[in-house]
């Protein structure tokens, strides 16, 4: 960094966090030239390191002129894509926050706006951890949903919804009943074919795949009303989750011989590890239909995990549970995300849970996206409060 450049004391590398600390505080961007000057310097700086960085940006007291926003956004996006691993922002003023969010919804980037530097650093740590676990940088989204629309006769269940899910994160979808959340999961898992739009999973278009083909790619899901095989034992139910991984010949399986036996034992070991993980050893031989509701949901979760998914879709996993049971399931979801780096899309109504464990939240209402962002951003978004969280009387 050439000392003496206008911005050199506003840019600081924090090696230990692989982060470039950018101080926009009290800066004014009033013309396109200002923006260019800044970003040219930044690009030159980052090029010199030939590495990628996270960005921690302090916006306190920063002003950006109305007509300069588009250009500012363009340059920022370019730097992010070329040199960046992810951005967290803090100290954003209220009007600027509105602008950033609106742009995030349209342009499909993460706003990642936080109140204080501490919160921003914590979020940064999460981003880094997920990258360490999954080995994938967070600019590559695992799943991209582009302008998906679904109609049932006269009912428009989804109207052109777009969003992106990053690898290794816990992504929640919330919204009033009938907003289209389960429909969205059904589209992602290949159960519905959208009338318009694309689903891009692991970089390739998957829009028109059938459900079992999607499952083979590493997507697993649970259902809103438990869909276990009631007459089978818990162990057998979870074993069915391994079906796609089983390669067997009818004859060898029937004779229980050689490779068939070995495979079955491997699958059994994998299932036992999941049973241990979800702490359901005591009920492994019990018929699924005789279990209390909360345990049935846990067995559902186990069955979904048995497929070793990259993406796990959970449809209201905590419905009908009391506080303690919800905490247990929340803990398991966090453990799954932590231990195996599984990306999780969660539909849930309990706001407390959603705010606590999600890294990113999408709000649907009447089939359309009305807000998107970190839990903190969404909680205070006026549109969300109006539609879903309730107006203060």
């Amino acid at each position: 960094m050439t000392p003496g450049g206008r911005f050199w004391d506003r840019l600081r590398f924090i090696e230990a966090l692989e982060t470039l600390d950018v101080d926009f505080s009290k800066l004014a961007f009033s013309s396109k030239e200002d923006v260019d000057e800044f970003y040219d310097e930044v690009d030159r700086l980052l090029q010199g390191t030939s590495r990628r960085w996270y960005f921690l940006v302090n916006y306190a007291g920063c002003t950006i002129a109305e007509d300069v926003w588009d250009h500012f956004g363009e340059r920022g996006k370019h730097s992010n894509i070329t040199h960046g691993l992810g951005t967290v922002r803090f100290g954003v003023s209220a009007p600027m926050r509105e602008t950033i969010r609106a742009r995030a919804m349209l342009a499909q980037f993460r706003a990642n706006v936080f109140e204080t530097r501490e919160e921003a650093l914590a979020a940064l740590a999460e981003l880094r951890k997920r990258r360490v676990v999954t080995g994938v940088s967070s600019t590559e989204g695992l799943l991209q949903v582009q302008d998906v629309a679904v109609r049932f006769g006269g009912i428009q269940a989804l109207r052109g919804v777009s969003f992106e899910v990053q690898t290794g994160e816990i992504f929640s979808m919330i919204g009033p009943n009938g907003a289209g959340k389960t429909s969205m999961l059904n589209v992602i898992s290949g159960f519905y074919r959208p009338e318009r739009g694309r689903i891009v999973f692991k970089g390739e278009d998957r829009t028109n795949l059938k459900a079992y083909e999607v499952a083979e790619l590493g997507v697993a899901r649970t259902f809103q009303n438990v869909a276990l095989f009631k007459g089978m034992s818990v162990l057998d139910n979870i074993m069915t989750g391994r079906l796609l991984k089983m390669r067997g010949s009818f004859l060898l399986d029937a004779l229980w011989w050689g490779p068939a036996r070995r495979q079955e034992l491997e699958h059994r070991a994998a299932v036992e590890r999941i049973i241990d993980f979800l702490e359901i050893e005591a009920i492994r031989k019990a018929p699924a239909g005789r279990l209390p509701y909360g345990l049935q949901k846990r067995v559902e979760l186990a069955r979904a995990l048995a497929a070793e998914p990259t993406l796990l879709l959970l449809d209201e996993p905590m419905a009908g549970m009391n506080v303690e049971e919800k905490e247990d399931i929340a803990r398991f979801i966090l453990d799954i995300n932590d231990e195996w780096g599984t990306t999780i899309i969660l539909i849930e109504h309990d706001m407390g849970v959603v705010m606590d464990i999600s890294s990113h939240v999408l709000v649907l209402d009447y089939g359309a996206k009305i807000a998107e962002g970190s839990p903190g951003e969404v909680r205070t978004d006026p549109a969300v409060v109006r539609a879903y969280l309730g107006e203060p009387q």
Binding site: K129, R268, A269, E272, R273, I275, D276, F277, E279, E281, A282, R284, D335, D338, E339
Partner: protein
């Protein structure tokens, strides 16, 4: 053998016992012997990934060797302590032996200890190393590590959830054993040399007893203490190498240390570790142990479980089982009081075997039990009779941490309901002038760690003061009445042994815990905890709806249910001239269960009377006034240490008392 004296006399030190063979006077040496003599015999099993994984004595030694060498490579010195925390796991038992092999002392802690308790013990014991089971224990220790300045390393067995922890002093057991392998290459005979340096008088373990009053005390037991006592009991009771034991009681409790560690190593029998706390009863069925210990409340819960399930059975089955259970209990009652058993009953019993007794025992997993013991509290007569009637040889024993457990055991054929047995060889028992039980034994502890005052108090003039009031009956068996310092008197001088009365109350399947108060007052009253399972099941059958424990506890119907139980106890008390005046006049049902997490009980479920009396002062005052209900608030501590409040309106009921038997 037993001397009934009332005048305290000066006695010489502990009775002479044959000296131990120096080649086998410590547990590591004994394990080495086992590995040579019976290398292929199964020593310990664990249910992992759904199947029972076995480890032989050779495996035991090899694994412990790697752990020990790993510790040595981290600088473990003779005399160092290792804190051990977790459920019963082979790895933790190996860690104990590894510590002892290096001349160190393992300090086991209760796996459900809260952080404050852990910090006290780890710091007091000056443990440099901690070997724990899983993330839960690691997290607790990490929170208090600052306050344990001597703690240097935390080693964990189950890596789940610990992948991102980056503390340098934290490592997996796997890694520790890798370090051990490396250390072995440079020091090939280190392990064997260290073991050879050990002596019988070295400290083998420090078991902290959480006293009913005051802070926990570290009971120091030497190898000799444990080996002599455990071996004497094993020989007397006929333990065999092919016995099977289920290790389900906490490792921090001296009983588990004696059954699952000391006796296991001495005799060579196999110890089985259950999969998790929730699967213990299932694992009991799978293993079918031959040597079984349970405190009375576990026997009671097994019985309650059977009775509840019986209520759901078909009419014919129910009638059949009840009939034969009565037959069995009738026979056992006669046998225990020495009366002859008529032929008809004996024939019925033989018929009952294949129909009821054997299938029921099989269902409970107790078909192969040759020896079953209970201790710690008085056992309810129905429970004792139930199990004996099935043909399970349940016997009572008496002991404490400070005596390496066994002081007295009921021998085969001498099982009785209200006594705790005769002293084992080498133990002498005496009753002091105040009626306190004193003993001398080769298992007597070496003292309380860093607490010479308490040690002195406990061991005056060579005899250990048990703190229990009791006497030796005409058969030479020891009978325990109550904790000596809890026995008090009412205002009119009537003897008031609270635990004695509480035990009678707890014989009822509906009453889980009870505390009697009344010292210095005009009458005795009781605070009752109902048993949620039993009363809940009863309520469901009678269509009495309830939402929670607090709600159920205050139902009028439940008070009505408990009433006759109290009258039953009063009737029993009225038959004893000394205790007639101690009948219960009022009772209330507590709105929350007494709990160790709330400091109301110890981890072994002994009541902390003074603490409870303070905490529930409002309730006790109400019991001694004229009100028939009182509002109360209580603080509760959840398992993660957070606190909350429970509010309730508690009823108070009067109970009739009876005059002397025969009077109207």
């Amino acid at each position: 053998m037993t001397a009934i004296t009332t005048a305290p006399e000066k006695r010489p030190a502990a009775p002479q016992v044959a000296a131990l063979d120096p080649a086998l006077d410590t547990f590591p040496k004994l394990v080495a012997r086992n590995a040579t003599r019976w290398p292929e015999k199964v020593a310990i099993r664990e249910k992992d990934l759904g199947i029972w994984q076995s480890y032989t004595w050779k495996d035991y030694l090899d694994q412990a060797r790697l752990i020990a060498l790993g510790l040595a490579s981290l600088g473990f010195a003779r005399g160092d302590k290792t804190a051990i925390v977790g459920d019963n796991r082979p790895q933790l038992y190996w860690a104990m032996m590894a510590t002892q092999a290096l001349g160190g002392v393992p300090v086991p802690l209760y796996q459900d200890s809260i952080e404050k308790e852990m910090q006290f013990i780890v710091d007091h014991a000056e443990a440099r190393f901690a070997l724990v089971e899983d993330q839960e224990q690691v997290d607790k220790l990490l929170h208090v590590k600052e306050q344990c300045p001597r703690l240097e390393y935390i080693i964990y067995d189950d890596p789940r959830g610990l992948r991102h922890y980056s503390q340098p002093f934290l490592m997996s057991l796997e890694r520790l054993q890798e370090l051990g392998s490396k250390f072995a290459m440079e020091n090939p005979t280190y392990f064997e040399d260290q073991i050879a340096t050990g002596r019988g008088d070295d400290m083998a373990v420090i078991c902290y007893t959480s006293g009913t009053t005051g802070v926990p005390k570290g009971v120091m037991l030497s190898h000799k203490n444990l080996i002599v006592t455990a071996q004497t009991a094993a020989t007397q009771e006929g333990l065999r190498r092919d016995d099977e034991v289920l290790a389900y009681l906490p490792m921090a409790w001296v009983g588990d240390h004696v059954f699952s560690y000391a006796q296991c190593i001495l005799t060579g029998f196999a110890v089985n570790c259950p999969e998790s706390a929730a699967t213990v009863l299932q694992n009991l069925r799978e293993i079918g142990p031959t040597y079984f210990f349970a405190p009375p409340r576990i026997f009671e819960s097994i019985l309650t479980n059977v009775m509840i399930r019986l209520e759901d059975a078909a009419w014919a089955k129910r009638k059949l089982v009840h009939f034969f259970l009565d037959v069995g209990q009738g026979i056992e009652r006669r046998r225990l009081t020495g009366r002859p058993v008529p032929l008809k009953l004996r024939l019925l019993y033989a018929l009952g075997r294949p129909l009821v007794y054997e299938p029921l025992k099989d269902n409970l997993g107790m078909r192969r039990v040759r020896l079953a013991y209970t201790a710690g509290e008085a056992i309810g007569p129905e429970i004792f009779l139930f199990f004996r009637a099935l043909g399970i040889n349940v016997k009572q024993l008496y002991g404490m941490t400070e005596s390496s457990v066994f002081v007295a055991i009921q021998r085969d054929g001498e099982a009785r309901l209200d006594t705790v047995g005769t002293p084992i060889p080498g133990v002498e028992i005496r009753i002091s002038g105040e009626g306190e039980v004193l003993f001398q034994s080769p298992g007597t502890f070496q003292g309380y760690y860093k607490n010479p005052d308490a040690t002195r108090e406990m061991m005056e003039d060579g005899w250990v003061h048990t703190g229990d009031a009791g006497f030796i009956d005409h058969d030479g068996q020891l009978k325990i009445i109550d904790r000596a310092k809890d026995v008090s008197r009412l205002a009119d001088g009537t003897l008031f042994p609270p635990k004695y009365i509480e035990n009678k109350l707890k014989f009822s399947p509906f009453i889980k815990e009870a505390m009697c108060v009344g010292q210095g007052s005009t009458y005795v009253s009781a605070l009752i905890n109902i048993d949620l399972a039993a009363v809940g099941s009863w309520a469901e059958r009678r269509n009495v709806p309830y939402t929670s424990y607090t709600d159920l506890a205050q139902k009028a119907e439940v008070y009505d249910l408990i009433y006759p139980e109290i009258v039953r106890v009063n009737k029993s008390l009225s038959e004893d001239e000394l205790l007639r005046g101690a009948q219960i006049r009022k009772y209330l049902i507590l709105h929350k269960e007494l709990d160790a997490d709330d400091q109301e009980m110890t981890r072994t479920r002994k009541l902390r009377r003074r603490f409870i009396a303070e905490k529930y002062q409002t309730l006790i005052d109400a019991l001694y006034s004229d009100v028939d209900h009182v509002a109360v608030e209580a603080k509760v501590t959840y398992e993660d240490g957070r606190t909350g409040m429970i509010r309730a309106d508690v009823r108070i009921r009067d109970v009739e008392t009876l005059g002397a038997p025969g009077t109207p």
